[in-house]
Symmetry: C2
Subunit: 172 residues, 2 copies
């Protein structure tokens, strides 16, 4: 079917039905290059081993560092972190021991864990599928960090795309 015109409005609206959380992907290649970028195209894909997939913009700075580092941290943002989501839409800078103004510690894999995150998973890249304007990063979860267990469902605690504004979408 590729190449056949499809219903563009239906494609946009149906793909925007997919709900997304908001995450900051952080990377450090150990050679002085760090990266941090807001991402939302995330899903778990296996229990054993615990795998997840992240769609990462192929021409982004964070992706370039990730390809070298082959490991990263996915920081889960909380409902109170709408501002942080927009902060990490911009290229990240390490200054005075802060990444774009945010304090962090290091995961066992060397990638930054944001102090503000409500949870974080350390990941090891297993496969990258280089198809499309964003590449598909398949990674195994090697460690996890939780600031404190959420009072309700974990998926009610995370910042979601729909929390960013009535007309904010990344997808479609």
């Amino acid at each position: 079917m590729t190449g056949v015109a499809m219903n563009a409005d239906a494609k946009k609206i149906t793909l925007r039905m997919i709900p997304y959380g908001i995450y900051v992907l952080t990377v450090d290649d150990g050679a002085g290059n760090i990266g941090a970028a807001t991402v939302n195209w995330v899903t778990q894909t296996a229990f054993a081993p615990p795998l997840l997939v992240v769609g990462v913009k192929a021409d982004s700075g964070a992706y370039a560092v990730l390809k070298t580092a082959q490991r990263f941290v996915l920081n889960m943002l909380g409902k109170e972190h709408k501002g942080l989501a927009f902060t990490f839409f911009k290229p990240a800078a390490l200054e005075n021991g802060l990444i774009s103004g945010q304090g962090f510690t290091r995961g066992a894999n060397g990638a930054p864990i944001l102090d503000a995150a409500i949870g974080a998973v350390e990941c090891q890249v297993k496969t990258i599928v280089e198809q499309g304007d964003h590449h598909i990063v398949v990674a195994e979860v090697t460690e996890a960090h939780l600031r404190q267990p959420p009072a309700g469902r974990p998926d009610a605690a995370i910042l979601e795309m729909k929390d960013l504004g009535d007309n904010v979408f990344y997808g479609g």
Copy 2:
């Protein structure tokens, strides 16, 4: 880090922070084999071409048909379709022109589109990453169908994991 024990509770809870919609993946290999299964591990991964990833249980009947067919439909369920989500947790059966009791039409790619779905995308498999207990199906969206445009945000119209019950999860 693989092989090093990680914090299992933190892993479970942080991975369950990922929000999910609920979909029925439908397939038909054109040789008499159909499949329909509730899935939730879905994300878009590129705009151009429009790609998405679905994590599909490697030992499921729907996956066996999908591997042969190399194309499928992802049906988006609406808030009113909680019962349908549970219906398609069970193996699907084609009887009297219905799939597990549900009426359907055919997409241009031959896969069933459930009458009850609020939206549906037709997909062509591009790559399958065979890692883990679920495999990673990378597919291009070739057509889209919308029953009617939702009144609000599209991601507010879809049935979500959290709508299925306080203790229902598939992930972690």
